[in-house]
């Protein structure tokens, strides 16, 4: 296991380097000028040139690239061009809402979607199965912002049960945090739930036809035990894989959900930084997301070993 972790961490370095290079080039080669964003359209060419010089944007691309790489190697992600705040501080300041939102969405998904998918497989072709599949089609098809606004309209504005917007840290006021997180978590979780319930169902359907399941039934196990004790653990590997892959889906969903519910997370920070051509912030965020993705993949690999002892690396 330790070898696996060490190997994956070592492999993360070239992955991060590739990500860094691609992000750097994409930003520098796309149209848009941060100097123009800061100084405004009325600024003359001399003023714009001075601002570009202050930001080092007048240097050749290769020089800018290696200067940036050297800074990253020192753990320095630079300062935001606009607010002059260190990039790392900006990311950390906005990290908590995103992490809390993503974790609560995953929690809701696992707690609801896996049992739903399992029951759908267990009651294959029944009305429960069809209802679950219909809900998953809806979850896939309706964009997150539509779901978010509908939930706000029904449960916040009309029923007055939840606040419309904002974030409260669970470390400061857990109950208020729960209120503020309920709707955004549900919004974010719906797409994920659709995916996981479908995968759980198909994976379990396959396993339920296996010989060991028939053997378990022949031994007199009740259906509930057959399903939860014998079938589900054996269907877990593809479910875990999809949960891992779904993290990317969550990251993109977070951007929309944070905007709809006005949560000050890294999703909004990313969009703002891209639109304002705040190069250091975008670069820092992309590295951060890549790191998260690499980390999640590592955790999934570890989870494989735990749920299926036959797997060896």
């Amino acid at each position: 296991m330790l070898r696996l972790i060490a190997l994956r961490i070592a492999m993360a370095v070239p992955v991060m380097l590739v990500v860094a290079t691609i992000v750097f080039l994409l930003l520098r080669l796309s149209p848009g000028d941060p100097a123009l964003i800061i100084a405004g359209e009325s600024a003359g060419p001399e003023a714009l040139a001075r601002i570009r010089s202050q930001m080092g944007l007048d240097q050749p691309l290769v020089v800018q690239y290696f200067t940036w790489l050297a800074a990253i190697a020192r753990g320095d992600l630079g300062f935001s061009i606009l607010s002059k705040v260190p990039v790392l501080s900006l990311i950390f300041d906005r990290l908590e809402p995103t992490l809390v939102l993503a974790l609560s969405a995953i929690l809701i998904t696992v707690v609801i979607a896996v049992p739903l998918g399992a029951v759908a497989a267990w009651r294959h072709n029944s009305w429960i199965d069809r209802a679950v599949m219909m809900l998953s089609v809806v979850g896939f098809s309706v964009p997150a912002f539509v779901i978010g606004y509908i939930l706000i309209l029904l449960l916040s504005v009309k029923a007055d049960l939840f606040p419309v917007q904002g974030y409260v840290s669970p470390f400061e006021d857990p109950l208020a945090a729960l209120r503020h997180l309920a709707l955004p978590s549900l919004t974010l979780a719906l797409v994920f739930m659709a995916l996981i319930s479908r995968v759980t169902r198909s994976s379990l359907l396959e396993v339920l036809g296996e010989d060991f399941v028939r053997t378990a039934r022949a031994k007199g196990n009740v259906e509930r035990r057959v399903l939860w004790r014998h079938a589900l653990p054996n269907a877990a590997v593809p479910i875990i894989t999809v949960i891992g892959l779904g993290i990317a889906l969550l990251i993109s969903g977070v951007v929309v959900t944070e905007s709809v519910f006005n949560l000050p997370g890294v999703g909004r920070l990313t969009i703002d930084a891209i639109l304002a051509r705040d190069y250091p912030v975008v670069q820092g965020l992309m590295l951060f997301f890549a790191l998260i993705y690499v980390g999640v993949n590592l955790l999934i690999d570890i989870a494989y070993v735990i749920v299926d002892p036959r797997i060896r690396y």
Binding site: L36, E41, Q165, R179, F261, N262
Partner: protein, 525 residues
Amino acid sequence: MLINRREALALSAGALFATMNPARAQGKKTLRLAPHAALRVLDPVVTNAYITRNHAFMVYDTLFAVDAQYRPQPQMVKEWSISPDKLAYTFTLRDGLAFHDGQPVTAADCIASIARWAKKDVIGLRLAAVTTGMEALDDKSFRISLKEPFGPMFEAFARPSSIPLYVMPKRIADLPADKVLEEVVGSGPFRFLPAEFRPGVSWAYERNEKYVPRSEPASGLAGGKVVKVDRVEVVWFPSRQTAINALAKGEIDLLESLNADQRSLLQGNKDVVVRRKAGPSASTIRFNWAQPPFDNLKVRQAVQAVVTQQDYMDASIGDPESYQICPAFFGCGTPLETAIGFPDTGKPNLAKAKALLQEAGYKGEKVVIITPGDVASFAPLAPLTQQLLRQIGIPSEIQTMEWSAFLARRAKPEPVAEGGWNLAHAVFDRIDLISPLGNLNFDARGKAAYTGFVDDPETEALKGRYQRETDPAKQKAIVEEMQKRAYQQVFYIPLGTYFDYEAFRATVSDYVPSAVMVAWDVSKA
């Protein structure tokens, strides 16, 4: 007593929701408002972003300020005098002015602030070019000496937008002009709270207890800035719909801006007041003068012949209460309003346009219209213009991009093949148009000018005359000449002015109607 699982669940849910009422003010009267944009840059001299300007008007005070009729009025200045030859202006500050760090505002602070501003602002640059010296006469008085008269002195000191002249401590104003200021120390009615500044998310102010307001009632940006709340918390909403919902539910008190369509979402809500904003916006068609075919006056005139403000306003705004046909290049309802030269008869003249194109020798070259896809106010303009161009026989292609790329491209005078453009639209707040020297549409210095690259030495000469003229009547006559010439040469085509709306809870009163959102005078029940 035994309870079953359902009852237990209901009780827990009840207990949970009972604690879920919005947080009540903790002793302090706090105004929560949603602005039109997110604050990221704090330095009001380095950027002309409206949100930074609005923030600065909370924190800094100004020597003069425009009132609701856009007339300059003294603000920090108590009295002033002008020498008979109009080459020396002496100003004396009001008593009791102090910065938020406790230091008194002195003449030296004002001189340093003027010097910093004059390196950046378009009118400030003109003032600096004719200034021979600025000297402090004592702690509260200073004199500006000029080599030639400068008519718009008070207009310059009362600049409400682009780059207003904010007074800051000398130690800050003396920092190199290109350094972006990070310390926010003003002498205005609110103190900025740096510890609560989260760039792009939220920020807050506290009442400046020591601020001495003028005795006149608040009017626009002028008059007495009396603060009636303890705190102002500003929260940026990337989704306007969410901000509207938050206002309807009472989670915020004031929403700075919503458009005519969004207004309907709050109509019928007795807890919310919706009001037309004091300052309208003006949309325009801009040509790239540096490239064919719009380097040709007759081609520009051909487009002008078919554009009517009524068509654009009907199509893009719709609600007649929310727009106004405005022939004045310097804004309707302003001191320099004039209709002179306005060619728009309300009916497109296709025959005239086609004849002008023939005279111009136009050979059917395709033109490129650039437009931002992520700015709602621009959305209807490009298709409308394309349709008009098609009607008179100018083929065109719309190229859509996001705002940042649009700004960068619009700043290029090069041909389309080299990353340039032929036609674009621009939208201005009226307060950016009111000054003949500050109105970017009258920047006529060719490729060095504002986007569109208008090249007209005669207009630059007229601006010089306006600058030297101190008689308001003669200034107005020069402005009329400027407007007439701009219509003749088709600097750009104004498409009418339209109003956005502001909304606030019924518990909020005395919210000052102003082109720049201000939080003084506002009280909250």
